[in-house]
């Protein structure tokens, strides 16, 4: 069994806390059941289910910390894991940056659980694969995709009386559709909590349409262009920018949010005044756990307000050192926008480039958050409010900070997830001027 009830989890955690002779003890149980199906070349390639639960015990004697983990939960096992953590702590060097466990928090539970997602079966996954593959086969297209769904729980307690328990569900679907001759490629991705709103048959059409429409791409000279980034295309760039929203890095002078002469840029204008970002565990389109990995309470946290830095992330150590309030690590990112869909933004564009998706984004210079990466799976030229023809893919070298200073218009935000980020994001499609493409790619 990999999903413990609140009562089962609390009973185990209480035993652990009672067993510990250390100055303080924190215990966390994390477990879940996650299923997947993978397909390629219009065939299912692998399918599986992984179930697991782990108990992590962290104890401290003064500033000496020990951590041990186990996945057995009988009394002897619990005794063993606590003693092992205590033995490690006694041997560990003092950590001058040690901070005590969080005090008792009052969490407001967030609706992270959806019965429809928790009820997904192997047959459901097989049907998703079939609903992706069959329409592609019928139109001489080739599908490759992956569905992963899960129900997971987190429970924790510490010797200061803090306790939390919550279950969460997730569904992540991506599908790349290519033309049989390899000259066109399209993509669709859905990151959802509730499977009720997932419709493979509808989503697959997006990837199919883009695959067919992107064949016979023309080459456009690299340079600065007005672009419309679909939310999935913007997600990878923005995730990098928010990795730098750490107060310590900024205060230490090693971030784009460091101020000349010392200090950080809280309160300073860094991007267009229309830009507003928040982290909010209760946002209806991106509900996440009400605590971070330390058990610290997540609250609505403005990050950028009217283009100015509103808050940075303060770890408990750094907050204590700087005399600030610590805030929980963010788990989502909400950007305000307008009301127009991507299609409506295209209609209002005289000349520009539509970017479906970005790929292999890497930091080039953290001083300016200069990133490089490529477009893929549907890059199109827009003229007089309509898509005219597909374009060969570009490499870009662009900073999201510069990009957010070049906003023409923001559309209606939707939920997305970056390829290489754990953040759940709600982002608008963005029309931006002077986006910097530096070379062409032959890749389809």
């Amino acid at each position: 069994m990999s999903i413990f009830t609140e009562a089962q989890a609390k009973a185990i955690l209480d035993k652990v806390i009672a067993l510990s002779k250390a100055d303080q003890c924190t215990a966390q149980l994390k477990g879940g059941v996650n299923g997947n199906v993978r397909f390629a070349l219009n065939n299912v390639s692998t399918a599986g289910i992984v179930s697991d639960v782990d108990l992590v015990v962290e104890v401290a004697f003064g500033k000496r910390v020990g951590i041990a983990t186990i996945n057995a939960f009988d009394d002897a096992a619990l005794e063993r894991v606590v003693r092992r953590a205590e033995d490690l702590a006694r041997l560990a060097p003092e950590n001058p940056e040690f901070v005590p466990a969080v005090a008792k928090q009052t969490y407001q539970s967030t609706p992270t659980f959806s019965p429809a997602t928790a009820a997904i079966t192997a047959d459901y996954r097989a049907q998703v694969a079939a609903d992706s593959i069959n329409p592609c086969k019928a139109e001489n297209l080739v599908a490759a995709g992956f569905l992963q769904d899960g129900v997971n729980f987190v429970a924790f307690a510490n010797s200061k009386g803090n306790f939390g328990y919550q279950q969460a569900t997730s569904l992540d679907y991506t599908c790349t559709v290519r033309t049989a001759d390899g000259r066109g490629s399209g993509w669709v991705g859905r990151d959802l909590q509730d499977a009720k709103v997932f419709d493979t048959k509808s989503d697959i059409r997006t990837a199919m349409r883009k695959a067919s429409a992107s064949a016979d791409a023309k080459a456009l000279e690299p340079g600065k262009y007005t672009v419309i980034l679909e939310p999935a295309a913007a997600a990878g760039l923005l995730a990098f920018m928010f990795r730098a929203f750490d107060a310590r890095e900024a205060d230490e002078g090693r971030s784009f949010l460091s101020k000349k002469g010392g200090g950080n840029k809280i309160g300073e204008q860094i991007v267009d005044p229309r830009v507003n970002f928040t982290a909010d565990p209760s946002h209806p389109d991106a509900v996440i756990m009400p605590w971070d990995d330390d058990g610290l309470l997540r609250e609505h946290l403005p990050l950028v307000t009217n283009g100015k830095v509103a808050n940075l992330e303060y770890s408990r150590f750094w907050a204590q050192k700087q005399g600030k309030k610590a805030n929980a690590g963010i788990g989502n990112l909400i950007m305000a926008g307008g009301t127009k869909s991507t299609a409506e933004l295209i209609k209002g564009t005289a000349k520009g480039i539509l970017v479906t998706r970005t790929w292999y984004i890497r930091m080039v210079d953290p001083q300016t958050v200069l990133l490089t990466g490529l477009t893929r799976d549907g890059t199109f030229y827009i003229e007089n409010g309509a898509i005219k023809y597909p374009l060969k893919n570009f490499r870009f070298n662009e900073s999201p900070v510069i990009m957010l200073n070049n906003i023409e218009e923001l559309g209606r935000p939707v939920r997305v997830k970056g390829d290489e980020s754990d953040l759940i994001m709600v982002l608008p499609p963005m029309k931006l001027r002077d986006f910097t493409f530096t070379s062409l790619s032959d890749a389809v």
Partner: protein, 532 residues
Amino acid sequence: MGAALLPSVYGRAVAAEALLDGAIPVMVKRTLADAALAAATGAGASYCDVRIGRYLRQFVITRDAHVENVVNTESIGVGIRVIAGGAWGFAATNDMSTAGVATAARQATAIAKANARNQTAPVQLAPTPGVGEQSWRAPIRTNAMAVPVKEKAALLLDVNAAALANGADFVNSVLFSVNEQKYFASTDGSYIDQDIHRIWPLMRVTAVDKATGKFRTRSALSAPMGLGYEYLDGNKADQTVLPSGVVVYGKSYDMKADAIAAAKQARAKLKAPSVKPGKYDLVLDPSHTWLTIHESVGHPTELDRVLGYEANYAGTSFATLDKRRDHFKYGSDKVTIVADKLQPGSLGAVGFDDEGVKTKQWALIKDGVLVDYQAIRDQAHIIGKTASDGCCYADSWSSVQFQRMANVSLQPGKTKLSVPDMVAGVENGIYIVGDGSFSIDQQRYNAQFGGQLFYEIKNGKVGGMIEDVAYQIRTPEFWNSCVAVCDERDYRLGGSFFDGKGQPAQVSAVSHGSSTARFNGINVISTARSLG
């Protein structure tokens, strides 16, 4: 997807002493394996392999003057793969009883039978003769797991202090050690016990100029290696002083000396002028070239990418089967690139791969011509091979093994050429040392690479340090612009622990060797920007 360079944590945390004992006796593994093989064949499997794994990892993590964390993890279990009805099935368990593994074997067989219903063509396995009982041990001198944590922490703190005393404002360092104890058995009649060790000392030094708000970093010039703790001996014979004055390392690394150099070089970067964009001849040190080889040759020659199995995640490949048939000119005649699972001290070296195939070396590009791919047992027939190349790997007992990159390396030049002699012939060039930013498209055509250190070369002489350098390539043009490769005296390895591929994603450790190489007329851009 590519070579992610930051450590991540695997498995369950355990006490340090647990990393030295607890190895499962071979007889116990054989008994468990036989139970699984019998259960699978009894349930109707036509083929079965069993991997019993104990994976140990240790991270010692420091920041400036203190140890941030010591993490020891251990993961033990059994992965069972079968063919039934012509389809694959897989199940894994951490129940290390004969009944537990037999249950998992029957589950794997049931999954295979279910998958068989939708299978359009049966799995074809290239024949692999059973080898009976075999064992292979990585040729290490000192087991890193046997070195006390206290000694490792003291080394890193000494390294950090040296960097801070020589101009660094901040320094982070990590010592990452891995031991994979793997047992493989199959219905082909193989029982293979292997003991694999890896080590990777990492460091990043930051220098800040508070007045200007500028900051620069310099990362370690170490490589992850398939070696023991002896890699940290700092043996002078394994050090090379480049014409730029930079010291680089071979089979032995002096972390403290590199930290001192890193601190000084990070400060120098704060004052170094920006590169003028344009075409340059590049002289690439092996500490840099490994990543370019990895992205632009290693990945495009993986057969699963070529065929389209990775289209939704890691990508496909421009090096399609017709290109091999047509003797595609991948590079100049100076370019011979081999795949290798044997090379001592490399990350990919093993005696047998994760489907029991004896490992080997083979050419991918010969004198510039694409001649082969990297294929495993169920792919070999697709390209007309009668045997697997022996490059199948799973990152855990609980992961399904699949095709992973072998060590892929540029062979040294056949004629004698030293680095100073190579540099002497360059009129307008840039010398690049260390790996930096990296990005490549999903078919491996268009790539961009940075580095750690850049020096201009004018009229055969290495000049001052420059900054903000990145070069952009189209893979075949780049390798065709290779005009010289230094000889074997300069051959060194680089690599990564974290090459990512597959869904669910798995990581793999891989080395790439080369001697210093020269590429003419490469497009260099300036990455300098201003936020106003």
